[in-house]
């Protein structure tokens, strides 16, 4: 070892020199910059989300409220031809409609606010409130009462925020008389679409969504689950299986509007199913959701360890029994999570439903899966197209309802995942 050459003739770096120290500082600065950039990206993404949700909530809050004006109605002097004995049960609506109640309410408005303002201050649906009040307490028919009735859309808009100059003046004069009040708009949650923003509600669209989702779930869940079981547990490795896998992976990435075109050409064009029906919407969305459920289910099934299968086979279970008695129960939480996420996606889907005609104006909630209907996201789209300013807050309020449903479904899925997730 006498003539061992030095490994390197280079002298060790002297980190204390100013040049080296500034180099290290520069590298650390770059490090901090990079890190801040990452933090900024995450923060800004979060800010986008907060801004989006916040602006919808702020705009939408007004949609759940209505402005009411206090107005005296003198039923004793109004020429209402109503037999008080008929005001019981289901005949009451007919009796009151025939008695000219709508005209009486309009006359009372003119009497209270003058011929000019009286004709346009009340919402078209105001007399329906009066009808309900009479049904609750028929004795008002012989008295003069002060009722709080919903105002027409322009005045409602002006009362909640900036409106037209004219309506602002009306609101100011009503406010000075302390006649305006605000209350929960029950019609918004309980009625269907209307051309008058103060009477438009989301129940029709919500019911359409529920019926559509029901059809989707009943078709996509069993088919998706069985397909996933087959592909993961039984499918032989051959060209057919590859073809199925490729088409499922590809279907999961096909734009949703293409499914709408398929629904239009196949279900409406070839099979002649009714337009705008939840049945067709559900069928189309089932085709769209099925690949999502298959992929999620396969991952859940794959996560079940082979030892479970080997043990079951070892004690004499048949392949079907292995899967249905052992693998499926263990994979079910994961499968359900995937299904809920797929259903949430279907619930927010709009474009394919536009293709199959679920964009018509429908003023009555659907009674069955073949009735014409619309769904919540399409209702949002339709209202966003309306010119009336009163629809702005209705649109945002409908979005809030839609988001509440979606967040609830996602929260349920995350909860299921955390609660039942097993690490083998």
């Amino acid at each position: 070892m006498s003539n061992a050459a030095p490994f390197s003739t280079r002298r060790p770096t002297d980190w204390a020199t100013p040049a080296m120290q500034s180099r290290v500082r520069r590298r650390y600065r770059a490090e901090r910059r990079f890190r801040l950039l990452g933090l900024a990206a995450v923060t800004l993404s979060g800010a986008f989300l907060l801004f989006l949700l916040g602006s919808m909530l702020l705009r939408g809050a007004g949609g759940f409220l209505e402005t009411r004006v206090a107005m005296p109605i003198d039923f004793a002097r109004a020429s209402l031809d109503v037999d008080p004995r008929r005001l019981q049960g289901r005949a009451a609506d007919l009796a009151l409609a025939g008695a000219g109640l709508e005209g009486a309410v309009d006359d009372a408005a003119v009497a209270a606010f003058g011929p000019d303002l009286g004709g346009r201050i009340l919402s078209d649906g105001a007399w329906l409130r009066v009808r309900e009040a009479i049904k609750d307490d028929p004795s008002v028919l012989s008295r003069r009462v002060v009722m709080s009735l919903p105002v027409a859309s322009p005045i409602d808009v002006a009362a909640k925020g900036p409106g037209s100059v004219e309506a602002e003046a009306v609101v100011a004069s009503l406010r000075s008389g302390d006649l305006l009040s605000t209350g929960l708009n029950r019609e918004f949650l309980l009625s269907a679409d209307s051309t008058d923003p103060t009477r438009a509600g989301i129940w029709g669209a919500l019911k359409g969504s529920i019926l559509t989702m029901l059809v989707t779930l009943l078709l996509a869940f069993p088919i998706g689950l069985l397909a996933a079981l087959y592909l993961e547990e039984y499918a032989p490795k051959n060209r057919w299986t590859d073809l199925i896998e490729v088409s499922i992976n590809n279907l999961a990435a096909v734009p949703s509007i293409i499914f709408g075109l398929l629904g239009l050409a196949l279900f409406l064009g070839t099979f002649g199913l009714p337009r705008s029906a939840p049945l067709v919407g559900g069928l189309t969305l089932a085709l769209l959701t099925m690949p999502v459920i298959v992929i999620a289910s396969r991952n859940a099934i794959k996560a079940v360890p082979p030892s479970i299968r080997d043990a079951a086979l070892g004690v004499g279970a048949s392949p079907i029994q292995v899967v249905f008695h052992h693998v499926l129960p263990l994979a079910l939480p994961g499968i359900l999570t995937g299904t809920i996420i797929g259903m949430a996606r279907a619930l927010g889907e709009t474009a394919p439903l536009l293709m199959i005609g679920m964009r018509a104006f429908i003023a009555a909630p659907p009674d069955g899966i073949t009735d014409p209907a619309t769904v919540l996201p399409v209702q949002v789209f339709l209202w966003s197209d309306e010119v009336g300013r009163g629809f702005v807050e209705k649109t945002s309020a409908a979005i809030v309802v839609l988001l509440v449903f979606l967040l609830a479904m996602n929260a349920l899925a995350i909860h299921l995942r955390n609660r039942f997730e097993t690490r083998w």
């Binding site: 590298r27 650390y28 770059a30 990079f34 890190r35 990452g38 933090l39 990206a41 995450v42 993404s45 979060g46 989300l49 989006l52 602006s55 919808m56 069985l226 397909a227 087959y230 592909l231 039984y234 499918a235 199925i244 088409s247 499922i248 590809n250 279907l251 990435a253 096909v254 734009p255 949703s256 509007i257 293409i258 075109l261 398929l262 050409a265 196949l266 002649g272 199913l273 085709l287 099925m290 690949p291 048949s318 996606r345 619930l347 927010g348 709009t350 474009a351 536009l354 293709m355 964009r359 009735d371 949002v380 789209f381 966003s384 649109t395 979005i399 839609l402 988001l403 979606l406 995350i414």
Partner: protein
Amino acid sequence: MTGPALLLLLAGLAFVGWLSARARAVAFRAPKRRFSSLPGHHAWYVALWTILPPLAFLGVWSLVSPALVTDAVLATPAAAQLPPPGFERASILSEARELAQGDAFGAFQPLARALEPAYAAAQARYDWIATAVALLLALAGGGWAYTRVRPGFAARTRTERIVMGLLLAASLVAIMTTIGIVVSLIWEAGRFFARVPAADFLFGTHWSPQVIDPRDPGASLGALPLFWGTFFIGAVIAMAVALPFGLMSAIYLTQYATPRVRSWVKPMLEVLAGVPTVVYGYFAALTVAPYVRDFAVGIGVETASSESALVAGSVMGIMIIPFISSLADDALAAVPASMRDGSLAMGATPSETISRVLLPAALPGVVGGVLLAVSRAIGETMIVVMAASGVANLTLNPFESTTTVTRQIVDLLTGEAEFDSPKTLAAFALGLTLFVITFLLNMIALSVVRRYREAYE
């Protein structure tokens, strides 16, 4: 008989079959003898044979019976006054159908009222036939299966074979859907290309489907501006927003963030991904568009539109952020830890490790993810329907109005046009183009991602 009642009855029959087969199988069980099947297997065998044949029949029947009913109505004498096939004829028929089913109370068309009895009669007749055939099939299937319930019969094998068939059939639905999409798009697009030369459609630069000259429909159906608008909004502007944000979020979350932060931020990104696109569209049209327009006018762009490509593209980019982030996350996680550890051990800072070691190693995965994101962005519909313009415009200026393929499909199909006008068929030609492009993008992306994953495994 109505649908739900019939289904309940069939389920009841299957249950009766299940019970009786089980009772019979239990009866012939004897001690000290080995059987190939448990009583439950026999029971399921009979139940499946009772319910599956009528269900299969009803499935097919529900698809063909509306056409049969219409044919029967058209054969009646009252139908002779119907106008020739077209929009008017279809509306009379659908009104008559609604009257017959009790969905409508009055008809605008007197002819619909005349056709109502014929509709009701045909409907009732075919419903009766369907019920009878379904019940016959159930009884025949169940009865035949019941006669086979014997000690030596391998019910377990048979039942499992039926179940296996069901599994296979379920997985074939995916292939059927793909075939359905391809065939229906090609069929309708083929009718379109029979009238409009493909070259005019693919390379023409003038798009105005509102006024189509019947002698030369191709002159106003040149889709090049749409392809450009789609590419500009979906692949350029949206990616310019989504790529930096998505990639940097993924890097921060996987490399820097503490597990606590990660457990909060990841669900937040998932929420961003779960917001319906119609909400993004409304947000873009109502909140973002006025700002962008004012800004553009402020910096001196005279032609600025409130339906600009920039608005739709940037909001679409926000929508894509979580998508890119989660795919980049996967790609970074797939890089072996030894590469990262080696780089850090040599004295590189984390940011140098990320940008010189991790990102180059993860590049194929990231590229695959970006391709998937592009395919998703160009197929996105609601944002462009609500925030982009309907006027085709071949421009490079992001503040000007631009339209996309998906927007035009929606516009073309929501008019009251009859089903086989060039306008309606053009939507299918656009759909076919969109399908082919997204299919190619997906295939390339998936194969890139797969090859890259195999390289490290």
